[in-house]
Symmetry: D2
Subunit: 365 residues, 4 copies
Amino acid sequence: MKNTFGNNVSVTIFGESHGNAIGVVIDGIAPGVEVDREYINKLLELRRPSGAISTARREGDEFVIESGVFEGKTTGTPICILIPNEDTRSKDYSATRWLARPSHADYTANCKYHGYEDYRGGGHFSGRITAALVAAGGIIIPALNKKGIKIGTHIKKCAGVCDRDFSENIYDEIDSLYDKKIAVLDDSVADRMTDAITQAKKEGNSVGGVLETVVVGVNAGVGEPWFDTVEGLLSHALFSIPAIKGVEFGAGFSLSDMYGSEANDAFAYENDRVITKTNNSGGINGGITNGMPIVFRCAVRPTPTLSIEQNTIDMSKKENAVLMSKGRHDPCIVHRARIVVDCITALTICDMMTGRYGTDWLNSL
Amino acid sequence: MKNTFGNNVSVTIFGESHGNAIGVVIDGIAPGVEVDREYINKLLELRRPSGAISTARREGDEFVIESGVFEGKTTGTPICILIPNEDTRSKDYSATRWLARPSHADYTANCKYHGYEDYRGGGHFSGRITAALVAAGGIIIPALNKKGIKIGTHIKKCAGVCDRDFSENIYDEIDSLYDKKIAVLDDSVADRMTDAITQAKKEGNSVGGVLETVVVGVNAGVGEPWFDTVEGLLSHALFSIPAIKGVEFGAGFSLSDMYGSEANDAFAYENDRVITKTNNSGGINGGITNGMPIVFRCAVRPTPTLSIEQNTIDMSKKENAVLMSKGRHDPCIVHRARIVVDCITALTICDMMTGRYGTDWLNSL
Amino acid sequence: MKNTFGNNVSVTIFGESHGNAIGVVIDGIAPGVEVDREYINKLLELRRPSGAISTARREGDEFVIESGVFEGKTTGTPICILIPNEDTRSKDYSATRWLARPSHADYTANCKYHGYEDYRGGGHFSGRITAALVAAGGIIIPALNKKGIKIGTHIKKCAGVCDRDFSENIYDEIDSLYDKKIAVLDDSVADRMTDAITQAKKEGNSVGGVLETVVVGVNAGVGEPWFDTVEGLLSHALFSIPAIKGVEFGAGFSLSDMYGSEANDAFAYENDRVITKTNNSGGINGGITNGMPIVFRCAVRPTPTLSIEQNTIDMSKKENAVLMSKGRHDPCIVHRARIVVDCITALTICDMMTGRYGTDWLNSL
Amino acid sequence: MKNTFGNNVSVTIFGESHGNAIGVVIDGIAPGVEVDREYINKLLELRRPSGAISTARREGDEFVIESGVFEGKTTGTPICILIPNEDTRSKDYSATRWLARPSHADYTANCKYHGYEDYRGGGHFSGRITAALVAAGGIIIPALNKKGIKIGTHIKKCAGVCDRDFSENIYDEIDSLYDKKIAVLDDSVADRMTDAITQAKKEGNSVGGVLETVVVGVNAGVGEPWFDTVEGLLSHALFSIPAIKGVEFGAGFSLSDMYGSEANDAFAYENDRVITKTNNSGGINGGITNGMPIVFRCAVRPTPTLSIEQNTIDMSKKENAVLMSKGRHDPCIVHRARIVVDCITALTICDMMTGRYGTDWLNSL
């Protein structure tokens, strides 16, 4: 379903980078969930470009809750959050209207929408739209927390710099990530990442990375064998985030080099609770949660917008051309994308749990 | 939607490994598509266990087309294909009913279905169910071929042995894969793979690998920016295949180590056609096809069933236990899974094209 | 979704009147629900043609449960029920292949399926397909009964003969309907209806009627204001039953002639329970159940197949023609359709409740 | 899907009567469709309360197109239209917060949303939300007109006063309806209807009626036999309109009193085109269009809000109570609902056609 995702809890997104506003309609949230505007702002701030390693575009992200919230709580009816666009320098784009930026969606949009697309700043393809998903996450994540479910994404690798893994202290580590602009577990790597990104920027270039996400607190028995596996639903949603080109669960691609005896996660009772000794399966067997942390990683490609001359085509003149981008842009979006991953994950988990346990689940005791 | 997948063309699957039958309902196929029973048999044969590197279970896969085909052609109404189960040694499983096989779905099924699941041979979680998807692919793939779309999956890596990449001669190479039990482009590696799998089997162990798929002939402009991206729809379907734990498109996870200048695919006109000089994007920009081959890879974990003692739990006695599996099983399913990947890909492509161009598309001129 | 209906509990149907078999896949039924083959047979018998007022076609309706039931109970995975076709006299139809039977789907099928449709006996449009829905109902209805929900449909009117209304004793009256071939509350009208139908048959003609359905035991607070109202979901499903051309809830069309003061249902507490003094709303306010019986009526048109000469077209010769039908057919299907209405209602109610209360609802305490 | 309707073209609605705003997201509209703000305004004006026979609430219905329209044309991406609320006298409602208005959704909302619902003015249940659907229709209807499809609804009956039927001159008659506040074909009845409504209002009472809709220009072969019949999809959507309690197609309930020989619509060639001599089937056979006008009627119940004392319950005190409504309200909404019926019909037709002929259909030659 094009711009709507979710079966029992869903989001519908709309908006273009340089249009009037972007926004989201969140449907199926249980009634009575507290809505904390400060928390939504906090998450939006984590996504917002800032500092030398982001685009110079200033996004205020002032949002308006148009519906679905009454006296500070969700009503159970659809919540529309609108985020007006600001500081849009649309003229930046008109000169290069017909030059298809390499690895951007200009060419494919033109094929699909026959030239009627709002081309300015990537239009509906812009990463800006993810702010709407973050606003949605700003309502869902605290509610999941109250249900004992926590979601955290750290930058496993960026610009060639690697973070350490989650430790035993995973609940606290997840919490700490929400206080960091550069979401790494080993704080000492943050500066090195920033430096590497800054260096790429100086060269007019860009870098990518890998985001690793954990979800703790989901009980065993959620998900479907076919086709709505936990992996399938999460990946379906995650691949919507511009720049994500790979998703792997548990040990992921490295499983392909293991023997079964290495890959298998032995079950055991530990304090009357079923656990697995290892978690190569990423908390999912046969598409269904097994009670261990859900673990996955997303490959984030380097931002396609560069300040370097690139060969491309002029779609209007139908001839080869050279592009020298002048728009503001990010040399890296890994550190910004992580909160989008958190929010899309929160939505998907909330959808699965609501389907499993009914429409009141998110606000039940 | 649980056991149904697809918006405009859909499959609904049913069945358990040791039940009466497995099967599939395919809905939304254009009327007038030729149904070639021999071709369906050919694809089923490619999935069927055979030889030393597969389970000893003999699956005849005699199928019955119960509906939707009249005088050798599709009617446009739902096609049900039933595949009765044969050679089921159910007693193999009763002794270990309550022992949760590591990295299998026994435990998660028990949590979800409260013990009512048909546990024999993995029940509805069995890879056997994929035969139904292959039967569906046996109708869709030849019809896509007539529309100029070809889909091919080769074993990029298995048991540590690697195949070469597709060459310029990709259309012929795809065709050749349908004539090979071990789908490799470099025939010299087939024996080495088989040997490595056989060796693992002798040790009671299992191995995994990576499957690489290409889809050629899909025009530019198909897919959605949110949420039904080509990547999102394909990964959603692919993760249903038991054992797949990672999906990456184009250069995938390796993009995370590239600079933007390396990762970007330069557009160019070549013989009045738009191409990209490289294909790191895997034929998809902004969730939409760009006319280049769609390329993705799936990580296939080693089969979890081993003939080695494993630690686990007894779900009935609620205590730790040791499992020594005696059922027939595969030391590797990479070579069998590839045709399932082809068929699930065919279904997803057919669904997207039918949504884009209307219900008659698959059989239009 | 074409041949699939339901969000959390769904059915997928397939088959043609003269094909190999018809059948249904039921997905989302909670695990552990008892499956009583005798009860399924009982419901199929209520739908089966019999006696002078039905087609002479003998439908054995021997069904096979292919999947999803293990040791007499549902597993929680999809249930496929197959009903092979018998006693198909396909040659009856070939002579009139291109004559579009008035008010049948021959012409519209030809427009949609371009002549590839299985035309024999109405193919996929045949009322025969509803046997598959009845088999599904044979599993769902007893399970709903255990949850305190009862569904009953009586023939409000047929061939101009009217039945009385439900009385206070509604639970028993519903039960009694399942023991009657002619489902009327006032047994004295059954013969008059049968006579009137028989008379129409003698004249080569056919008759219709009105079915009235009640659902008791659904608690208040189920359904959605938009778009999945109880009325909307039920009518969506009900209009699939061939011959149904109108659906009204509560006082329905007669509300259009009332004043608000007559139409409004006054709320009141009665034994600490909220009731309404009247039930003109049919148990639904704002799309959501209010705890009173859900009441609706379906208009059933007279069977379009007649043994009377009719003007029509030859779709092949593209000229006007005269049709004299010789196939076996029903002079009335009102008495057979009622059990289909019950079963489709059961499915829809089960779907709504499962969405509201979670996937285990149907088998929870 | 709760607040989203449509498979290939969909609307998602949000908002409460006394909240910040109401609105709609329209997804799947082909790119390049002209958006005429004046036309949207014209349709909103037809729905807006005005004069003595409507609520005194003044609804400006100033709308903002937040996304999806660029340079006056649709982009192909989601269109969000926001309509801020004005003139909301919320205090009107607080005094009667816990009194369940008879035949309103106050009680059912309370059961479903546990008291968290925005109760003011009916909240999300308010007919006010239909303004968002009308705004959507304001884009779709002119585009359908360009494709040769016209939709018109007249007041067949209101307050006991009947309009005449459509004549041969149906295309012009449809056009004329869009210029009338009281949509009747026989202008002489408009005053009589208005008088009857005014009389009911004086008595603190309300009246209902029947709306009849025709859709001309849809070719044969659109719709599905199961479950997405034209009747099923339209009724699903139509029952969302508050106050609609019955939907019938063609001759509808009166078919139940006809013989087959009277009810059947004889096919014939007329000027090389297939027509039916009568149209008792309402343009639909077997769930699929036959090329004749699609005809249906909706039963509209009298507005439940009255200025007459009514017995009800106090949901907070859990005791019986008496309600004397003082809020502004409509003595009749039949004349306002008709444009909502047109717009919801336009959406559903557009969805079906887009599914049948592909995503570019609405703007193709």
